[in-house]
Amino acid sequence: MAAESYPDDLLYHPGHDWARIDGDEATFGITWFAQDALGELVHYEAPEAGSSVAKDRTYSEVESVKAVSDVIAPLSGEILEVNAAVAEAPETVNADPYGEGWLVRVRLTEPGEAGSLMDAEAYRRHLAEQG
């Protein structure tokens, strides 16, 4: 299990999802907090490449032994690639939530939406407020 961290180069959605923006593309995943709350992941219900995702809407599910959690799209776009390694070995998300444990890569259709996401400091505050 990785140590708790919220990298400064990512943007965060209050549903405990992150986005790493690279031009008109982005990579999505779930935060350290989300994977810790779930426990060891045993299933990733991956979406299909080519399908579209809408900001604030569920695009996949992750499951631990005891729980199922919807994964929320932090931004809108079209899925370019699904992380097949996570579908094979979902515990990768626990080990490296911001690296090897990414979930999908998307082409952004509404890049302007990024302005509504939190930076790392705001997300840490959000977590603290949730207590």
Binding site: E40, V42, H43, E45, E63, V65, V68, A87
Partner: protein, 358 residues
Amino acid sequence: MQTLLRTPLFDRHVALGARLVPFAGWEMPVQYEGVIPEHLAVRRDCGVFDVSHMGEFEVEGPRARECLQGLLSNDLDRIEPGKAQYTLLTNEDGGIVDDLIVYERARDRFLLIVNAANREADLAWLRDHELDGAEIRDVSDDYALLAVQGPRSLERLDLPEAPAFTFADGEFDGGACVVNRTGYTGELGVELLVPTADAGALWDRVVARGAVPCGLGARDTLRLEVCYPLHGNDIGPDTDAISAGLGWVCALDKEFTGASVLRAIKEEGPAQRLAAFVMEERAIPRQGMAFLGDDGEPVGVVTSGSHSPSLERGIGMGYVPTALAAPGTELTVDVRGRPRRGRVVKKPIYQREERNGG
């Protein structure tokens, strides 16, 4: 808001970093390090569970035996002092008020260990049906119970081998306890009963001998792999023992509450059965999901479902029409709108011997 009860080991669970959840009115550890490592510790070595939330009743007196024979499905005449028996408290409809283990301390003195969630219901049921000459006492608050389970459990505690479903006074590292050769994991193991005041010292001695602290999460996955029903999920007041595959704990040649209903169900054959299944596609079945027929309509319901840490795939139990209950039958589970294939298997889903092969 109702205050959650705490076992005498609560502070130890907190100190170990357990994740605590409400369960049957108690604040209980669901996991420490994680469900999977705890589960595997029990399958491969030894784990310890605080199950002090479970209820204990003493039934004593010249008519104690007669009283229990009329209320419990199994036949007490099959056991003797020093032996224990898995049995059901049944209602008039043949439904299951609770499943429990009865310990025969003497011909006229018994201990019942019951599900925490049913403590009040059981006590009310027993009091409503008690006989003069059979005194029923709820002694749950007087006792703590630790389940020490796994292939190395006896060796780690230096306890002698004993047949399953026996119990005796025992002792290790200078402390006494009642050693029950019972459990809920499918592994070799014991359940240690001590006065509440001795619980902390007993836990410390067990952990010092290398038992891995395990939470209710692993307890659930372990019992599901070996198809032990969970009351409230797989069995309950509205399900009967025959459909649940518990006919083997119903002595239908004696009289007990609901026996005539159960005889009739057995005679006619139950319309549905509690089947065990494994998923053939990648998906985790969960309680409440529907089994789908060929036409896509629901034909049954999953009563317990989980990822199996031993088999590394989705497993479960659920009620299906008898025609679909035979091992090998293909089943479709509605996983949040996605039909996923599974197959009925012979119980238990996981067998201890499998470990030797791999």
